[in-house]
Symmetry: C2
Subunit: 337 residues, 2 copies
Amino acid sequence: MPQLRKDPILGRWVIISTERAKRPKDFPHIDTSPPERECPFCRGKEALTPGELYSIKDEQGNWRVRVVSSIKPFLEPNKKSWKKGKGPYDLMGGVGSHEVVIDTPEHIANMADLEVGNIREVFWAYCERIRALQEDMRIKYVLIFKNYGWDAGGGRVRHSRSQIIATPVNLKRVKEELEGAKFYYDYHERCVFCDLIRQELKEQERVVLEEDGFVALVPFAPRFPFEVWVLPKEHSPDFYKTSWEDLFSLASLLKKVLLKIKILLDDPSYNYIIHTAPFRRPYPGYWSTIEEDYHWHIEITPRLTQVAGFEWGTGFYICPTLPEEAAKFLREVEVRV
Amino acid sequence: MPQLRKDPILGRWVIISTERAKRPKDFPHIDTSPPERECPFCRGKEALTPGELYSIKDEQGNWRVRVVSSIKPFLEPNKKSWKKGKGPYDLMGGVGSHEVVIDTPEHIANMADLEVGNIREVFWAYCERIRALQEDMRIKYVLIFKNYGWDAGGGRVRHSRSQIIATPVNLKRVKEELEGAKFYYDYHERCVFCDLIRQELKEQERVVLEEDGFVALVPFAPRFPFEVWVLPKEHSPDFYKTSWEDLFSLASLLKKVLLKIKILLDDPSYNYIIHTAPFRRPYPGYWSTIEEDYHWHIEITPRLTQVAGFEWGTGFYICPTLPEEAAKFLREVEVRV
């Protein structure tokens, strides 16, 4: 069973994945796996994936988006939760969920090439899974992300999909964002994200695209070249509360941004992560202002450079493009959806 | 001139490198640079590197270790420092230093293959540069690291070298480590690292090697497979105060660890980072206990897996090896130095 261990200095939880446990010979430096033969995510191959957790079907009863358990889950739902100390160390059982969202039955690699309606359905599936997973009281956070392309950890199978990891702990970076947002709110009594959106829309220097309630921009202090954030213009802490109508606007804007990235940067690998507030906020005090101070958003990071080791180890990043120039380049790419 | 920008939510400083500013076409997804022709780091090619900042010479006057300015520095010393606000944002001039330590005049790629005496000189050069750089009152931290191999950001030139970045800000991860160590100290009145070393030496499960005042171990909650930390057994916050004699023991142990990694994992790319206390600790209060609570160490991380995007974005890592197994594999590799 997978295990969570806590770094005793930083307080950072790490999953020790026993299901995927690797021995020295299991790390090929150059991937030598044979080219893809049978895609397990295409229509008609449903028997190749574990049990279906959720799906959206068309009028003929054919699935359009399908959520399944991961074949090699990092965390598992059907386990008893436990926590214990061991000498000075803390560990807990790897209870949670690790799911794969198959974005489409067609063998299409990049979400940029899906129809807007299809992307909306993928986002709806995310929301539905968050709603379902928060029923499990052991779950603290639901992380939704996409790894597209080999360099982004997307593997060899070129079929568009996303991942959901439901964790029994709140994640370090999520906590840091909440703390940062609260710090700003405590002083200004305004949401830092709302303030930044206002500033960016006024300056227009780093805005990539703005329409129907959403904005895409290059952040002022990005970690990576051509990093783009997508935010709702109206304040909202919880991604999963976005309406079916608004999800269409979001899908339309996101498709345009992903197409711009694909065209401008020659179809690079990329990741996106949905940053949303934890859904359990029982304590008054520390998270009392979360409704007012946190603002969900999506961070998209193309993988264009080798990230040097010190960037891992220090959280100190060097970005080799000027954000204002990156935004200009992205703005100038014409796309139609 | 390079610029530092602060993420207004997380408070994380990012270098925006204008000297290396890249346009979309400058990001080849597959490196197509021609194979190395002339190595600028070999003996006799000194004219190919910028001004020498420090060197160690043999009795004939030939250099054995040489520190030079980076050709494309991330930060520059000869600039006036400035800080300013811009709307809700904070930025400052990229004052600092970016230096390359040429570990050897021979064209040897991996530090594992250098002689122990040579490695000691490299570490002595690190100490000397920290001592010199802390004279500049604008410098807050000196970060020392090595990127070995393409996957670790080490570039195409296969000549062993290290990097030094002196920054005008304290780094986020350094702050987090200090905070974590202080939190533990405030409760226990003991250094957390000293406690962990005692525990590890007692259990022996995760110890890779122990000799002459230093220990190499796989941490209890590693981020990466076969991650190894090297620590002095005696409490010490400052790496640069290590004596010439102790640096020989450190070099000997480090060489063995690097050789074990090279042999076991087929010469993988790796990074190491020296984690040492900030040398300016003027304030009573917050850092008052740093002498007692912080413990310098080196973190070595082989690059064996693609790091998925959510790991960047969340600080939540999945490690596909059991630390106890990794330590056992490393222990069993026999090396002689």
